[in-house]
Symmetry: C2
Subunit: 191 residues, 2 copies
DNA sequence: TGCGTGTTTAATACTAACTATTAGTATGTG
DNA sequence: CACATACTAATAGTTAGTATTAAACACGCA
């Protein structure tokens, strides 16, 4: 196996298995640890601990941002059953790397979770939505979403209108039909 | 500050700032490193490197799912400009903890990113969407999304229809109007 | 006053997974 | 053969620890 081949292999192996130590790599390629270290230094690849740290740090924030939070964005005000406002600071991790334009599903996620927060039923789910992305959002812009309940048919269906602005300009407008309680049971997956 | 107080403080501090070393902690609490180590061992808290590793590993998979990947879900097949299929394995982290129902914006995200993947322009953004969530999805279900380009007006606007199923049942149907190239320039944020 | 107990600190030896540097071997090519 | 390229070895130093033993210190109280 040539040096070039080993190095490109090393690079792709580490992409798939970033937690491999130099020792494990040296066994994998049948060369000495020193050679692996030389390869890494030439390729500009940091050591395991650094790689692990980077992975952990990079993921720490973004997972909190959309992975686990009950609401995407920060809830600024809330009048249950009537209206609410939330703020989302966009960053690089939410955008396409090439264009720096925020992926629309983050904008949607903020609006959707705000709509559900305004309704506040343990069993509310989005049934229908109409969304218009009026202009692209660039990473770094602060998104202010304002939700208003515009119709509430009895207890099991509400219509929420969400408008999102960035620096005063409208970027998104969506209508969410949210189903609650009993209605959810009907919709639930057939067992 | 009592020992008990310090220990509970330590525990919550490390939850918020998991990357603190024993040395930094000893400064923060004004006690020796040894004391911090004693505290950690009593509380069963592993060292920084271990904590970092756990964070990195835990998030490695899930972040790829929605944080950074260019596409949410796994791309199964793709015929550029025509159609595509993607698969998303849902889990607890995508659902409301109380009901185990997957948040709709994950379903939307899969569909949205698939729609964009099918168009494949470096400068494509979603301009409009119409989404219907036909029935709730429970964490654990596998979502198969199928996208089809149904209209392509010249070079700068396409309409993509996405239908998502789980175990053969339709769960989502959405229409995405995707703007490309020059069209994006017009939409772009006013400087 | 002294004794014990709990809490904290110090000291020492050891570990993994490195970096950085210098030197040495092996192999092939002009 | 000489020389370069690639590889390996050896050594010292680093970080962030573990594990263990021992010493200092405060308090409570008989």
């Amino acid at each position: 196996m040539s040096k070039e081949h080993r190095r490109s292999q090393l690079q792709s192996d580490l992409k798939r298995h970033p937690f491999l130590t130099d020792e494990e790599l040296s066994e994998r390629f049948g060369v000495s640890i020193q050679t692996i270290r030389l390869d890494r230094s030439v390729l500009g690849i940091p050591d395991v601990r650094e790689r692990t740290r980077i992975l952990a740090e990079r993921n720490y924030a973004s997972v909190r941002a959309i992975g686990h939070a009950e609401i995407v964005g920060e809830l600024l005000e809330l009048e249950l059953g009537r209206s609410g406002t939330s703020l989302l600071n966009t960053d690089d991790s939410m955008a396409f790397s090439k264009t720096q334009l925020v992926r629309s599903h983050f904008i949607f996620a903020q609006a959707d979770s705000l709509a559900l927060a305004v309704i506040d039923s343990d069993h509310a789910v989005t049934g229908l939505s109409n969304a218009k992305f009026k202009r692209p959002v660039t990473a770094g812009e602060r998104l202010l979403a304002r939700a208003e309940v515009i119709r509430s048919r009895d207890e099991d269906e509400s219509v929420v209108l969400v408008e999102t602005t960035a620096g005063g300009h409208k970027v998104f407008r969506g209508k969410f039909v949210v189903a609650q309680k009993a209605a959810v049971e009907d919709l639930r997956a057939p067992v």
